[in-house]
């Protein structure tokens, strides 16, 4: 147990805050992501012209990529096998090359079917308080009594 870096279930209280973790999705990150995703380029995620044609001021981060980086923030905290459920609503277009602040707040803790579960509200915000992506996450943590 001593080699575990993440939290134990008993460490968690209602209202605990995780983060915010700050990161930036650069143009290059988004292009790499779209290449792997198989989305034909240029597209509204990588091209200024195509973004404007879609009514956007500039290229945006794909929702699938926003989910990936929010998941990463959670697994960095809880552990690589911990995330059981991530349910997100894409509220506003997420911009490239600007700080994205990812945070979570614990809303419930419970033991269910032998698992120690922690439920959180999760949020991706911009520097000026823009609420880009919101939702909930369900995380399973080990007990320090096991």
């Amino acid at each position: 147990m001593a080699d575990r870096n993440g939290p134990y279930f008993e460490d968690i209280d209602l209202g605990d805050e995780i983060g915010p973790v700050e990161l930036v999705a650069t143009d290059e990150n988004v292009i790499n992501f779209c290449q792997l995703w198989g989305n034909p380029m240029p597209n509204r995620f990588t091209s200024q012209e195509m973004a404007e044609a879609s009514g956007l001021p500039s290229p945006i981060v794909p929702g699938v990529m926003s989910m990936a980086i929010m998941s990463q923030a959670l697994t960095d905290w809880a552990g690589p096998e911990a995330l059981k459920d991530l349910d997100l609503v894409f509220r506003q277009p997420v911009p490239h090359n600007k700080p994205l602040l990812i945070s979570a707040t614990v809303t419930d803790t419970r033991q269910e079917d032998g698992e120690n579960l922690v439920e959180c509200d999760v949020l991706m915000m911009g520097e000026a308080g823009e609420r880009y992506v919101g939702g909930t996450a369900l995380i399973s943590l080990p007990s320090n009594e096991e």
Partner: protein
């Protein structure tokens, strides 16, 4: 008053399949690089093997990249002119490990209207279940698309 939606309800209960998708260590590594993922359970085979896995673990949202490979039909919704990706959910059911081969099966889950401050939108939700080479369900992904007038 209930809003009567016009779309192809015969699509309920129909599965649309795609795959197999080979989840190689290279695929996982490329995914890791694109989001700056460095957790050794996702990047280092020796670390993952020491934890009891046959290879590196796939980060839990990697399967969401595969959903677009399923050819989904037009539901012929008679509402709205704009359509956008409104939400996404991934539920991890079992570990996905380098070397796995996944099949995807998608179906129309629900279509429903919602009225808020910006007016009425209609949400179309598709659910995709991923199953590995041993027949184990490893993840469910829901994608929600909103249509707006």
């Amino acid at each position: 008053m209930t809003m009567e939606l016009e779309y192809n309800r015969e699509l309920y209960g129909v599965e649309h399949e795609a795959g197999p998708f080979a989840i190689t260590a290279d695929v996982i590594q490329t995914f890791n690089r694109s989001i700056g993922e460095t957790n050794p359970m996702y990047t280092d085979a020796a670390t993952a093997q020491a934890a009891g896995y046959n290879g590196v673990l796939a980060p839990p949202t990697l399967v969401t990249m595969l959903v677009r490979n399923v050819e989904l039909p037009d539901i012929e919704l008679k509402f709205g002119i704009m359509r956008f990706h409104a939400g996404q959910r991934v539920q991890s059911r079992a570990p996905i490990v380098a070397g796995d081969s996944l099949m995807a099966s998608s179906h129309l889950k629900e279509v429903y209207p919602k009225t808020g401050r910006s007016g009425t939108m209609v949400f179309t939700v598709w659910e995709t279940t991923f199953t590995n080479q041993d027949g184990v369900v490893v993840a469910d992904v829901q994608e929600s698309y909103a249509s707006r007038e």
